[in-house]
């Protein structure tokens, strides 16, 4: 069902400020949808409107075909993971995870079994009797995720759940979240600032800026077919050139007034092999080189133009000032509108 969650005409204002205006959005079932957007674009606001925590929200929200817009927070069966974990510090890990089940009429033995299973899944069964203050950030977040997943929510919203964690744990937990999603078949919306994180975890990406949806699609399409200049510059590194600038590089038969996108990886340097049919060749000079470990980013000057490109770090680095031959793959030049 590709319209598992459907938002119709969502409007949110805080005082005089309109943060979300007439937002419409559909989200597929049993998949991870990532909300990606700059700070202040309204991602959290949309999430809080879906969960019912935002009391200023106006509009219709349909979950699994049912209108939930008027339901109170505790009746929506939606889980939310906060960046700050929000564990209950007076309860043990076990009691935190059991908390939601206790509100339902479920037997003690059954609760115990479910909690133990869930703690095993998130690999926290050995910490069942610890208290939140004694856990690391990553462990806290795993408990928080277990606490929400045990409720079998129709929808699980994760608002930058990994932002407070260090890089290594982030990647680990990101992969685990994806694994839980597939194992339990939960529909998730995952908010992040981090493009790489978005690309890695998403089945479906929604890019939001200024309270509006810029583009929605599979990660691959978002990257390779940005719908406008904002999308081209927001996702991934980029060179944006006009048709006339491209003409000066030897690329003809493009509209001179239009703007075009060239991704850094569509440019290569000093190839030994013959250039393929789709490539144009020109000369340039390296004016900057930044080493990212596995790859190096160069900026090449050709007259007044500047081109960004990336090379894998398996050759000797080229020195700043050296003259290079630049090859641009014409087939990968994308027209922006």
């Amino acid at each position: 069902m590709s319209e598992f969650l459907k938002i119709e005409n969502l409007n949110v204002t805080f005082g005089k400020e309109t943060v979300i205006e007439n937002l419409n959005l559909s989200i597929p079932e049993n998949a991870i949808t990532v909300f990606l957007g700059p700070s202040g674009s309204g991602k959290t606001t949309v999430l809080r409107s879906i969960s019912g925590l935002n009391r200023n929200a106006q509009g219709k929200i349909l979950l699994d075909g049912k209108d939930i817009s008027e339901l109170p927070v505790n009746k929506r069966n939606i889980g939310v993971i906060f960046q700050s974990y929000a564990l209950f510090p007076n309860m043990s890990v076990f009691d935190n995870v059991a908390y939601g089940l206790k509100a339902q009429r479920i037997g003690k033995a059954e609760i115990k079994q479910s909690v133990e299973d869930m703690l095993k899944l998130v690999n926290m069964n050995e910490k069942a009797n610890s208290f939140p203050d004694d856990l690391s950030g990553g462990q806290k977040q795993r408990v928080a995720i277990a606490r929400s997943m045990i409720m079998k929510p129709k929808l699980l919203l994760l608002d930058e759940p990994l932002s407070a964690l260090d890089a290594k744990i982030r990647v680990e937990l990101r992969e685990q979240i994806k694994e839980y999603q597939q194992k339990l078949g939960i529909t998730m919306i995952f908010v992040t600032h981090d493009q790489a994180e978005a690309m890695a975890i998403a089945d479906n990406v929604v890019v939001i800026s200024d309270g509006k949806i810029q583009q929605q699609g599979a990660p691959w399409d978002i990257y390779t077919k940005p719908s406008n200049e904002f999308m081209a510059t927001f996702i991934g590194d980029h060179n944006i050139l006009s048709g006339s600038e491209l003409k000066s590089l030897g690329i003809n038969n493009l509209s001179l007034e239009q703007k075009y996108l060239i991704r850094p990886e569509s440019i290569t340097l000093n190839k030994l092999a013959e250039s393929i049919a789709d490539e144009v060749e020109c000369n340039g000079q390296i004016i900057s080189a930044v080493n990212y470990g596995n790859r190096i980013q160069y900026v090449i000057a050709k007259d007044t133009l500047r081109l960004k490109m990336e090379a894998l770090n398996h050759t000797l680095p080229l020195k700043i000032g050296s003259q290079v031959k630049v090859f641009i793959n014409k087939a990968k030049i994308l027209q922006l509108n």
Partner: protein
């Protein structure tokens, strides 16, 4: 260098003795037969204690003070806890305004407050004791606000409260299960602060109800004028009560800090 290190200790000891001396003297006075022209009391006796404790008037006074303290405490908690909770969870912008309000009891002197209140409620048929309870609890707002607000900003209560609702509990149950256990220390401290505000007030109670409602504190001053020994007994009893309250306060707050 050694002298310097010892100086603070000496100063502290002197201050301690200076503060303790009146209490010791009062205690001595409260157990002396007579102590007028001599350096030390002429004889020791507990008869003043016996006299006071078996005096039915004294029991009435204690009862009145307790009634005043208990109602001040209940009213204070019932008003302040929800307000401070609301401000921290739902409307942080109110906090700036609240800061000014909490300063008011420091700015308005008791006499002006009481005169104003008497004017205001002159024609309204509410028992004065009820108004007194309201005034006393409002007067302790600054301390109670500070205490509870500090507890509320120490943790992310907003997220915890929201999370509890996401997990299926209504707002009232969420408050009981998630907020209350985590602000327990603040609640105990506030209770004691409000209680001692009720117990310790002299100025407002005396101005407001005059001789119609004799509390422990008023009784103490009156007794002092009539019979110094009996007055001292009451002072000592009062001092012990406050010491116990303070001890509980210090223990709860230091426990909270440890974890």
């Amino acid at each position: 260098m050694k002298v310097k290190k010892r100086t603070p200790k000496i100063i502290l000891t002197i201050i301690f003795i200076y503060l303790l001396l009146p209490i010791v003297a009062t205690f001595l006075y409260s157990i002396s037969t007579s102590w007028i022209n001599t350096v030390l009391p002429e004889g020791l006796t507990f008869k003043w204690y016996a006299q006071l404790v078996f005096n039915p008037e004294f029991l009435n006074v204690v009862l009145r003070s307790l009634v005043l303290s208990i109602f001040t405490t209940i009213l204070g908690l019932v008003i302040f806890v929800p307000v401070i909770f609301y401000m921290n969870i739902y409307n942080q912008k109110l906090k700036a305004k609240m800061r000014y309000i909490t300063m008011l009891p420091f700015i308005i002197p008791g006499i002006i407050l009481v005169t104003g209140l008497i004017q205001l409620y002159k024609d309204i048929p509410i028992p004065k004791i009820v108004i007194l309870v309201m005034v006393l609890s409002v007067m302790s707002l600054p301390l109670v606000y500070q205490t509870l607000n500090n507890v509320f900003i120490s943790k992310d209560f907003k997220s915890m409260f929201e999370q509890s609702q996401l997990l299926g509990y209504g707002p009232v149950k969420s408050f009981m299960f998630v907020i209350v256990p985590n602000i327990k220390t603040g609640l105990i401290v506030s209770t004691l602060l409000l209680f001692s505000a009720g117990l310790g007030d002299y100025v407002i109670t005396n101005l407001f109800l005059g001789g119609n409602y004799i509390t422990l504190k008023i009784y103490m001053y009156r007794l002092m004028a009539v019979n110094g020994n009996a007055g001292s007994v009451l002072t000592i009893i009062y001092f012990i009560m406050l010491s116990i309250l303070s001890a509980i306060l210090i223990r709860t707050t230091s426990k909270a800090k440890k974890g």
